[in-house]
Symmetry: C2
């Protein structure tokens, strides 16, 4: 199989930007991505593009891919919009890898964007709801915080997970996010803050829920034939995995795990030829605090049911055995739906290229990203491998 390499990735800050449009945000992310390529990369060298967005607000629901790629000067190339709810641009990155491996393209852009801050509260509820099952979730009034609250309740009931353990996810991710200039909620939060915050959907408090965000992110994937033109420190796409599932939580056998994540992880580890213990740094889908705990188990970082103790052990902190969400994650960095998956790849790129600043972990070789659509109707996992030793910076 033809090898694919990640040679650049960049993003906007996440937040509320009333003076930006989805096009201008995408342009900022695109320029950050091309500028991050060690030996440079021009728009004219890009063969193909995949763009992820849910299209919150509905302003450009059709052809939103070409609408942004044309805006950054990618005239005429094949461009495809990819959508799997909150995993839209995680899947866009996967399609970029397939395009390269297929031999049909050498240099591929995978990006995503979302603008959520100009959407009313009711409309946001609709737009987030469309990533759940329509008849039995959205139209019956179930919100996404409600869905994840059910998952949290079952995990607490079954495995004895506590609300304090959920809060520790928020504390860790805000601590990381406070070191990330792109984070939307880039401030620290104490355990007391997280514990005493208003309840959104019992047992989840405000600090157990990610914000809604504007933002864009882009990644650049190239083939083995051209990688030397772009970098001397190649980061290989070692593993790719994806899975799907019933869209509605109520349709599934388990509430205390995400089977699509397990399938995606299994494929990615097999392709990469490594196990979870070899992952040096990971970005996981923490739309709600329980989602990060479930990810620890689904990705094999700890045994089933043990995620609560795992976060308490400090294993996933910046200096732990497997630092998770060094960027701040969806919780602190933000969650502009269509941008999130590509944004996770931005953090993996920074960590593996040694450019993560104050949150840099020590000489990572394998970086993993994990992006979930809805409550687990789709999931995608990438494993990136730094092939050369990290140079001193």
């Amino acid at each position: 199989m033809r090898e694919a390499y990640l040679v650049g990735a960049g993003q906007t800050a996440y937040g509320a930007f009333p003076n930006e449009s989805y096009r201008s945000l995408f342009r900022t992310a695109f320029e950050a991505a091309t500028n991050s390529v060690p030996k440079g990369l021009e728009a004219a060298e890009i063969d193909e593009a995949f763009v992820g967005t849910l299209g919150v607000g509905g302003r450009q629901l059709g052809l939103s891919g070409p609408a942004v790629t044309e805006h950054v000067g990618l005239d005429g190339i094949p461009c495809t919009r990819v959508e799997n709810a909150c995993a839209a641009s995680g899947f866009a990155v996967r399609q970029a890898v397939q395009a390269v491996k297929s031999g049909m393209a050498d240099v591929v852009l995978a990006g995503g964007f979302e603008v959520m801050s100009d959407t009313s509260s009711d409309a946001t509820k609709y737009w987030l709801g469309v990533s759940g099952e329509t008849e039995w979730e959205r139209l019956s009034g179930t919100t996404f915080s409600g869905v994840y609250a059910q998952m949290a309740s079952v995990h607490m009931e079954t495995y004895g997970t506590t609300r304090e353990q959920l809060s520790r996810v928020a504390v860790k991710n805000h601590a990381n996010g406070s070191k990330n200039p792109h984070a939307q909620l880039g401030f620290e939060c104490s355990l007391e803050d997280a514990q005493s915050a208003p309840v959104v959907a019992d047992p989840l408090t405000l600090y157990h829920c990610c914000p809604t965000s504007d933002g864009a992110a882009c990644a650049l994937v190239v083939s083995e034939d051209v990688v030397d033109e772009y970098t001397d420190e190649p980061i290989r796409v070692a593993g790719v995995g994806a899975g799907s599932d019933d869209v509605g939580l109520f349709q599934r056998d388990t509430y205390a795990g995400v089977p699509a994540s397990q399938r995606a992880a299994e494929q990615a580890y097999e392709m990469a030829g490594i196990g979870p213990n070899e992952v040096d740094v990971a970005e996981v889908h923490d739309c709600f605090a329980i989602a990060e705990l479930l990810a620890y188990e689904d990705l094999g970082f700890c045994e089933k049911g043990k995620a609560g103790g795992f976060i308490e052990s400090g294993a996933t902190e910046l200096d732990g055995t497997v630092p998770v969400n060094t960027s701040g994650g969806l919780k602190s960095k933000g969650h502009p739906i269509g941008a999130t998956g590509a944004g996770q790849v931005v953090e993996a790129f920074k960590q593996l290229s040694g450019t993560a600043g104050d949150r840099q972990v020590d000489a990572p070789v394998y970086g993993l990203t994990h992006n979930v659509g809805g409550s687990g109707g789709a999931a995608v996992v990438h494993i990136f491998e730094r092939e050369t030793a990290v140079s001193a910076r």
Copy 2:
């Protein structure tokens, strides 16, 4: 490059089906596709799926791919929604080909669906409008018939194309559709009918415009490693091409052609190693009569500006040198947006496997499909090649 093969394809009838859902329509198309595979194909053998839909009506905007693949028993496999407006499932087929060529999958489903008949007239205007440019087209009141009317006007002004020539597209496609049991408007229309019908957007009359439709279609693409398990009469995906462009017609240099189609065709011919003269049968994107005439030129079936005379010559009729839209096309067969591209592949499969019934053309070797998103913001072309002689049936 690893070869990909089309081993099956099937669809629902197109029309208005108040007693069906998007899931039940998809199931019908899926079963028609698997049943069309000469040696049979079970759901459990499918490695991956791509699903195209615009999501008209908004009932399941997020994760609509997994929502239908789970319904047909494709539990857990990677499933990605692909959207490029009216070219959604044309691009889904392209992604299936990339997935196979990448080596990441051997058996891939590409399908699409749309339900439009339960949507109000105003809502339909919105949903079709989102495939145009938002600020300067949709929000300024431009409809899709208006956009294509502008293209028709410029072609008539520049090249002397006549309304009668536009009407001949309708006459031909209705004649073909009357031979297709899946056609929504499966009746013949006379030149007089087309000429005297009410004007929708000058110069386009009602018979120059396709209907809105419910429907679904599926295609099955497999790798060279497994094709023998599914058929003894392989149909190779010889060429694939795609292009993008500015989403708004007003942003482009020309109104009398679709540059994205030209780019897609050029790539597809180059990959297939053939020219337009070798195409034996084609399905082209005739959402409006002018679109079929533009396609003749963009695909190289005739010279620039000569499409009016070309339709008059009879070259694109069932017994012509290059029969076009033998299925009835979008005009007579129907245009359920997300299903259309895969539905074109269904007709190519039928023609190349000699199962097109009363509309079968004589022993075709190369079949081409051409699917356009919006007014040309995206386009995709496939060239299929029958590798064995057509057997007597």
